[in-house]
Amino acid sequence: MIKVTAAEAARMAIEEAMAADPTVIALGEEVADPEGGGIRKVTKGLSTRFGADRVKSTPISEQAIMGAAVGAAIAGMRPVAEIMLMNFMTLALDQLVNHAAKIRYMSGGATSVPLTVRTMTGAGRSLGGQHSDMVEAWLAHTPGLKVVVPSTPADYKGLLYSCIFDDDPCVFVENSIHLSARGDVPVGLHAIPLGKAHIVRPGADVTIISYGRPMDDVKKVAESLGEEGISVEVIDLRTISPLDEAAILNSVAKTKRAVIVHEAVRSFGVGAEIAARIHEHLFGELAAPVQRLGMPYTPVPFSSALEKTILWSPEKITAAIRKTLG
């Protein structure tokens, strides 16, 4: 183990993948060293180590980046494309949603799209309406894509590595605040399976399901409620789609109570999908209605005073848990 930031952990994953397989290439705005190795330095050093041929800085042309990555992927490469911020995915959604996600199916299984798209986002830094959104639900709503949201530096490494060697298009969502958080990360090969949730903490009274940056507070709340004698089971989804339904249902069948916490807008979000599945399978067994926490139905405001009010907090999480306990 070494203690590094999530950004360094992600870089380790790409670096090790590139060292292991010459078909792994990286492209995106500013990813090569002459441009600084990525705005958060996730690709720093890679063009120097592996050559400018394998790590390409591109113009500000998201559609071309995504399309070129899809093309390289169907030709048998394993491109790691960076879309600087998740809001800019909108410019490249055609290539991702209409092409990457569907080529395997529309070719009757003849063509794989082993593409990884790294992107970054997150509210809480006063970046306003066009630079903060979590739009993982849009992507998860598209059959044929895998959507991965890591929550710890170790997971940044292990999940990203798995995305790169997965034969399907994966979107890997980095969080701009988390990227500078430090944690223990395994040295050498570290691959975490996609599509499998992580039971971070076993518990008996209530299940919390979350992913990404809110996991930090979820874990803290579970710990402090534990001291009060409330036993909280914590599930980190890691992969949003395909969803690890079994992990969720097994847990909630046991605890009879569920709280879902995500950063994204609550309406029509991932939490709604999870709540629906819980109700479909466990309706008669629930001791309380499923609770969902997410952003209210508003764009992310610039003012930090306003922005603070729309994010999750330990207090809001605690209140949601208490609500299920009656």
Binding site: E29, E30, P34, E35, G36, I39, S57, P59, I60, S61, E62, Q63, A64, N87, F88, T90, L91, R125, S126, L127, G128, G129, Q130, H131, S267, P296, Y297, T298, P299, P301, F302, S303, S304, A305, L306, T309, I310
Partner: protein, 346 residues
């Protein structure tokens, strides 16, 4: 105005720094231009200070160095002409006549800001001044500006829309789609590429295969000129030609302004992609405000007069900063307003 000539014919003789021999501005116009540029410079310096003090959050992209572009173009416009740009927008707002108080209040996230604290540095609008934002998605303002021009054509109202974009943005697909549409429909749209040589840390040579961005509209026969964007008189002269061409119904026009930003891309910028000497030499030899000041002195304006105006400008900016700092933060209920025309908490 004659109908579209070939794009070559519309190009002035361009020197080493894209400098066409610029006709001098009349004294009163030059004085106005200098004051406007100075206002922008002082405003941006103040914004930089407030950012450093933690009073401005998020991204904050300063316009320092590029002032001659927006001021020279604005001088050639008439009331009712529209302006739209990217996130590097403070200069554009001040040039259109928006209130420095309202802009500074928005930068500091106050209730009295142009967007009531909900937009921030990158997102402000003024229907009154025909300023349509303030957009953070690189290149998106170009197609939206094309639509502003479309509404002018439809209403036959004689207005033109000026759409600013960076040289980095000029590589977005929608820019080329817009060029074609505007040329096809003969839309009164002036595209102004502010080529400050860098898009974040990427130099123009590493981002554009095109070596002359003024010719990026050539396939659609959009006339294009390169202009010394550090010389407000040159910018003004080129803009007058562009405005006359567009107003006469000839279709879109493209100007590439050779300019330079002195500060980082945003407030945090390691600036490893260029040398200090490069920045220093631009400041020393090409500063648009210094040049205009020297020209005013040469034209016989008294130095005391200029000093008085400099003090006035500082006072306007200080007042905007003071007003912003004493203004209230937005009421939490503001979260629920403006999402839809009628909106309420869920």
């Amino acid at each position: 105005m004659a109908r579209a000539k070939t794009n070559k014919a519309a190009r002035p003789d361009v020197g080493a720094f894209g400098t066409a021999a610029a006709p001098a501005l009349p004294r009163d116009k030059l004085l106005h231009a200098w004051r406007q540029m100075l206002l922008i410079r002082r405003f941006e310096e103040k914004a930089g200070q407030l950012y450093g003090m933690g009073l401005i959050g998020g991204f904050c992209h300063l316009y320092i160095g590029q002032e001659a572009v927006v001021v020279g173009v604005q001088l050639a416009l008439s009331d009712g002409d529209e302006v739209i740009t990217s996130y590097r927008d403070h200069g554009h707002m001040l040039a259109t006549g928006m209130d420095p108080r309202g802009v500074m209040a928005e930068l500091t996230g106050r209730a009295t800001g142009y967007s009531r604290g909900k937009g921030g540095s990158m997102h402000m609008f003024s229907l009154e001044k025909k300023f349509f934002g303030g957009h953070g998605i690189v290149g998106a303002q170009v197609s939206i500006g094309t639509g502003l021009a479309f509404s002018n054509l439809y209403r036959a109202n004689d207005r033109v829309c000026v759409t600013y974009l960076g040289e980095g943005a000029s590589n977005q697909g929608q820019v080329f789609e817009s060029f074609n549409l505007a040329a096809l429909l003969k839309l009164p749209c002036i595209y102004v590429i502010e080529n400050n040589r860098y898009g974040m840390g990427t130099s123009v040579d590493r981002a554009s295969a095109s070596r002359d961005l003024s010719q990026n509209g050539a396939p659609w026969r959009i006339p294009g000129v390169q202009v010394d964007g550090m010389d407000v008189a040159a910018v003004h002269a080129a803009a007058q030609t562009a405005v006359a061409y567009c107003r006469a119904g000839n279709g879109p026009y493209l100007m590439e302004m050779k300019t330079y930003r002195y500060r980082g891309h945003s407030m945090s910028d390691p600036a490893k992609y260029r040398t200090r000497e490069e920045v220093q030499s631009m400041r020393e030899h090409h500063d648009p405000i210094d040049h205009a000041r020297a020209a005013l002195l040469a034209a016989g304006v008294a130095e005391d007069e200029l000093k008085r105006m400099e003090a006035e400008t500082r006072a306007i900016v200080q007042d905007a900063a003071d007003a912003a700092q004493s203004a209230p933060e937005p009421d939490p209920a503001e979260l629920w307003t403006d999402v839809l025309a009628e909106s309420a908490p869920p």
